[in-house]
């Protein structure tokens, strides 16, 4: 696809995005406005992540794209193909082989290294958005570090439900300053936000980029008497037997029987290749 520049965006645009990324890394958790471009895929389908990936990719990179933890979901395939076509970079499904990983809704189970970049697709970057619809107001709240509203919301959850009723896109505080939306990852993934890799967040429609530099402190908001708890389905993976991975729940027959399997397809496949066996595989073997 030679009629487009490497990784689709022109160099001026990439420079503009790289500046926003650098600013984001310099002010962890702060939402940097950037002049998001119209991409050849719809807003809300990863245009922010795609622009960030396009700006950081080099011809030597190896790219992995996941959606819901899986490499074979249709939108992940579509984005991976886009970069194969426009950047001609190597692609992989193996987390450890990738230098850039674009993700939607998950952090890979395998710990990332300091030579890797994790790019998140973000629908609504503003953690305060559903408490205050106005962008003018929420920007003011961030600059004044005025996060009382968020604590009131969490408190109201506890008084109404007996627990904090946020299961994904669970708000965090970055390096003791900015409250940040980690994108709609399940709260199971929140503890992984403190990692060796660079984490970049791109929200195309909302025109915002933000970042977490390596080894930055990321604290999930909670109360002393209601501490944050990373949760997952109380099962092991039926395919590989993993007890430490986030699980998808599948309905497997008309009677509504369920099975559970790793949402991270690469993690699950690797474990099975190593000989780990889940309940279902054991059953089939018997």
């Amino acid at each position: 696809m030679t009629e487009y520049n490497f990784a689709y965006l022109d160099e001026q645009t990439k420079r503009m995005i790289r500046r926003a990324i650098l600013k984001g890394l310099a002010i962890p958790g702060y939402q940097v406005p950037f002049a998001s471009r119209e991409m050849p895929m719809p807003y809300g389908w990863g245009t922010g992540g795609v622009q960030v990936s396009a700006a950081v990719l080099t011809p030597d990179d190896t790219l992995k794209v996941i959606d819901q933890g899986a490499d074979d979901t249709t939108n992940a395939i579509s984005i991976r193909r886009f970069f194969e076509k426009t950047a001609g970079v190597a692609v992989t499904e193996a987390t450890s082989d990738a230098s850039v990983i674009q993700t939607r809704h998950r952090i890979p189970e395998e710990p990332l290294r300091d030579d890797q970049i994790l790019v998140y697709q973000v629908p609504i970057p503003e953690p305060l958005r559903f408490l205050e619809p106005s962008e003018v107001e929420t920007r003011k709240m961030h600059s004044l570090e005025e996060y009382g509203l968020m604590h009131v919301k969490l408190y109201e959850d506890i008084s109404q439900h007996g627990a904090i009723a946020t299961a994904y896109a669970y708000p965090v505080k970055v390096e003791g300053r900015y409250v940040m939306d980690p994108s709609p990852i399940p709260k199971f993934d929140n503890p992984k936000l403190e990692m060796a890799a660079i984490q970049l967040f791109g929200a195309g429609r909302e025109q915002r980029i933000y970042a977490i530099p390596p080894y930055t402190q990321v604290v999930s908001l909670d109360f002393d008497d209601y501490p944050f708890e990373a949760t997952k389905a109380d099962h092991a993976c039926d395919l590989c037997g993993a007890e430490d991975s986030y699980l998808d729940e599948l309905i497997v027959d008309d009677a509504g029987a369920r099975m559970f399997m790793c949402s991270d397809t690469d993690y699950c496949a690797k474990r099975r290749a190593q000989g780990h066996v889940g309940a279902q595989a054991a059953e089939d073997a018997a």
Partner: protein, 360 residues
């Protein structure tokens, strides 16, 4: 044994091949040419150019063909193409008072220099299906008149001369470019107008209509609506002067709205403005009404809490490409998030039940 769902790649390829067949329709009927769409579906082409922010009738017609007539999809194709084009610079402001008008009507004066020119309008047609068009598209020749030799002056100019209408500050500043810098609020009027002119026609129409029905009512007279061609000129640094780089069709609407005044200032009419690519008069009139409603602050009016007065509400929700993308993304898999909610709700229900049982 359960085998994980694979085959996404093949599914995508097959879906797109099927789409291509559906787009073509029955091969027994003649295929539409881009020229046919450009010539015979010109108002659809105009809308795609306006909301796609790219003045190219052939590309807009191609987009309509490719999008199977879905205009928002066609606008999306044009936007995605447009964003890859380099920006050479800004033109000089177009001189709409030098417009070669195909249509020019005023609702405020019965007659004025330049006259009332109905032009090719649906107005006053009776909306009766013309079954003849099912068989035969031949049309009788319309009568011709010579073009006016002189320019058609703006009606607003006559009100200006009497100081009856609030003056607009002139400025040589290059207006901001919504496609190159992120929208930040508060937006100045130039930026708002830029956003409105590419905004979704239906959204702007609804917003304008809401002002007519009392949500920040500001009764608008259409002082003038004109449609025609104007020259686009650009300064070429190497030449040291401006040259004409092309000609475009525009629709311009200027409204005269309720006056304002105070103890110190005599009352003056206020204005709203709409300017849109192509023959797009519904959009241009709507734009003028919404522009006027958004000006409440600078004109010292009260915030009535109406949607059309809320700059953030209007500008953040008027773009149909942003809106449709985000709306339709909820078709994408969300099983990870849903799973986390499933677990949470099961846990909350378990706890509620055990509390309930313990109480009994």
């Amino acid at each position: 044994m359960y085998v994980a769902v694979k085959g996404g790649e093949a599914a995508i390829d097959n879906a797109h091949a099927w789409l291509a067949e559906e787009r073509r329709g029955d091969p027994g009927t003649a295929e539409l040419s881009v020229a046919q769409i450009r010539e015979q579906l010109a108002l659809a082409v105009n809308r795609v150019m306006a909301e796609g922010s790219l003045y190219d009738a052939d590309l807009a017609a191609l987009a309509i063909k490719q999008a199977r007539g879905d205009l928002i999809e066609a606008i999306f194709l044009i936007r995605a193409y447009r964003t890859t084009l380099p920006r050479f610079g800004g033109s000089k402001p177009v001189e709409t008072d030098k417009m070669a008008c195909d249509r020019r009507v005023s609702a405020t004066f019965k007659d004025a220099p330049g006259g009332q020119v109905l032009g090719p309008t649906f107005d006053y047609t009776h909306r009766l299906l013309d079954f003849k068009l099912m068989a035969d598209g031949a049309v009788p020749d319309a009568t011709h008149a010579d073009a006016l030799a002189q320019d058609t002056p703006h009606i607003m100019g006559f009100l200006d001369r009497e100081d009856l209408i609030q003056p607009e500050p002139a400025g040589d500043d290059t207006p901001p470019d919504l496609t190159r810098t992120p929208l930040e609020l508060p937006a100045d009027r130039a930026l708002r107008l830029q956003s409105l002119t590419r905004a979704d026609e239906g959204f702007i129409l609804g917003m304008a209509y809401s002002t007519q029905r009392g949500y920040a009512r500001n009764h608008a007279f259409v002082a003038e609506l004109r449609i025609g061609t104007v020259a686009v000129e650009m300064d070429i640094p190497e030449l040291g002067f401006a040259i004409e780089i092309g000609e475009i069709t525009l629709t311009e609407c200027e409204t005269v709205n309720q006056f304002k005044g105070s103890k110190t200032e005599p009352p003056q009419f206020t204005r709203g403005y709409g300017l849109v690519f192509g023959m797009t008069e519904r959009k241009a009139i709507s734009m003028a009404l919404v522009d006027r409603a958004l000006r409440w602050k600078e004109l010292g009016e009260d915030d009535l809490g109406a949607p059309a007065q809320d700059e953030e509400f209007v500008l953040y929700h008027a773009d149909n490409i942003q809106a449709t993308g985000f709306l339709e993304h909820i078709k994408l898999p969300h099983y990870v998030d849903f799973q986390s909610e499933l677990e949470l709700i099961r846990k909350l229900r378990r706890e509620a039940q055990s509390t309930h049982e313990a109480a009994e």
